[in-house]
Amino acid sequence: MTAAIRPAERNGRALYLTAGITLSILFVLPLLWAILRSFQPATLITQAPQSDDFSKMTTANYSGLIGGSIHILRYVGNSLIVALGTAALTAVVSTLAGYGFGRFRFRGAGLVFALIIVTLMVPFQSVLTPLFMELNTLHLTDSRLGLVLFYTAFNLPFGVFVMRNTFAQIPKELEDSAYVDGSGVMGTLIFVLRPLVLPGVATTVLYAFLFSWTEFLGALTFITKDSLITLPVALLNVETGTYGQVNFGYLVAGAVIAMIPCVVLYVALQRYYVRGLTSGAVKG
């Protein structure tokens, strides 16, 4: 019996590997290709491809972006400040809320939780105009802090959901003994529960960082001052020629710079990313 199905199994395995490898190449190749293109001289990049194109590789696009009039590192810095700020604020606020919802009983808990979670249904695209006027009144347009608050608010429903589930899964006995030993509310969180909720925090941080690093429409709307714009908006300005003639070498090199943190973070922390997806609450 087993001998009879073995050849079929071997065929199945060969098919699986062939399909998997072929499709993997198909999915990753465009990204690798962009990296290759970013090392082409700007003069060749929009000309008909020649067979010796890739013998003329250069880092000129990167040095031009960094050292030239565009000062790309300024925008990379803005994006980093906003993304790290959002990740940190979302993590702290979600953890506190998850602790509160997962571990404490209080009147109105159900209502407050529902009010936070129901905003998963509100796409930020649909409140762009009132948010602009609100942020403008609060002097939070043309402000990286304003962007951080906006991104955090829209990442919180997911973060709170993940953290509440994370806290709810911890056995009660653990903090019981901590309270008996005289730990306070924050002491128990920091010294007893922290290691147990770190995977949830990692999920929250990863989503918040990737969301704010790649977000385009809000960044375009709420920041107009050139020195404060984030990387995707800076790339739009490269595309439209705001910084002089359109330079496709710069554009693709800038896109590669924008891509790198996403790839590195995802590959390193994908286990936490997948946890977030399968927890059931995914942003629409």
Partner: protein, 297 residues
């Protein structure tokens, strides 16, 4: 024991812990939503005085021909991309759902385009769509399909085709992840007993897997539909909504109406239509999610 109660039931503590989250969501999501209703009944310019115009902004929606065109376009675009995203995502999920050697690597590869984001990828594609030089034209020319001079973004249908391929590549990884998680949640014995009974692979897939996955499939379709309906980045970057307004999406028109033409009141009324549409779709999603969590427990 009594001590734990005294801590976890002290009413102020729980409320204090959740209040920063609630205040942020209230200030930057719930308040704008209420404010939007107010703005939509005014002729608010971006800066300067305003007055009430009653329901004018709503009754004028029917006269906004670009909005109507953008709704039609966005619906067609959504309908066109949803099926391939689902089919490709389903196929990929079948491929990577087992824990065979290589499955983790394949999952990573298929999901990578989603992680990098559409804005960045649109900038990359812009270069490759250039006539006579871009990789898309070069490959199609070598395959003998075109002569390599196609100006993709100048013709409406070509532009839509290019964006659709981009978006299927970008989004099918997400569908794959969701369906894969659903498939892995189906008890093995159900599937195996069918195998023992002599059901073929196709029969098992269609008769057992598909019905059991109903809820996951609905969830992935809803997420995909909402994502497509809110499309902005890929069109704003690649076509700027053109030629003319032929590829202008709903979100892009709202953005333009508010921040280019400065008709904030009218744009906000359009936004609220968006809230209602997405709200209805998400309410279905929410209902499905509640259902799954109570059932698995």
């Amino acid at each position: 024991m009594s001590r734990r109660r005294s801590v976890t039931r002290r009413p102020g503590v729980g409320l204090a812990l959740v209040s920063p989250a609630f205040l942020l969501v209230a200030a930057f999501v719930l308040f704008p939503l209420g404010f939007a209703i107010f703005i939509s009944f005014t002729n608010w310019p971006l800066i300067g005085p305003y007055h009430y115009v009653g329901a004018d902004n709503y009754t004028n929606i029917g006269k906004d021909s670009v909005f109507l065109q953008s709704v039609t376009f966005t619906l067609i675009y959504t309908a066109v991309v949803t099926v391939p995203i689902f089919l490709v995502g389903y196929g990929l999920a079948v491929l990577v759902r087992s824990n065979r050697r290589g499955a983790t690597f394949f999952r990573t590869a298929f999901f990578l385009p989603y992680v990098v984001g559409l804005a960045t990828e649109s900038f990359m594609l812009l270069l490759e769509l250039q006539p006579n030089s871009g990789a898309v034209n070069f490959v199609l020319d070598k395959l003998g399909i075109t002569d390599g001079t196609t100006a993709w973004l100048v013709h409406t249908n070509f532009a839509i085709a290019a964006v659709c391929v981009l978006v299927v590549w970008f989004a099918s990884g997400l569908t794959m992840m969701l369906l894969m998680a659903g498939m892995q949640g189906i008890p093995h014995d159900v599937y195996e007993s069918a195998e023992v009974d002599g059901a073929s692979w196709w029969d098992r897939e269609v008769r057992i897997m598909l019905p059991l996955l109903r809820r996951t499939i609905a969830l992935s379709l809803i997420l995909s539909v909402i994502g497509s309906f809110l499309a902005f980045n890929q069109f704003y970057i690649l076509t700027q909504g053109g030629p003319g307004v032929s590829t202008t999406t709903v979100v892009q028109w709202i953005y333009q109406k508010a921040f280019v033409q400065l008709h904030v009141g009218a744009a906000t009324a359009l936004s609220l239509v968006l809230v209602v549409v997405v709200g209805i779709i998400s309410a279905v999603q929410f209902f499905l999610l509640r259902d799954t969590t109570t059932e698995t427990k």
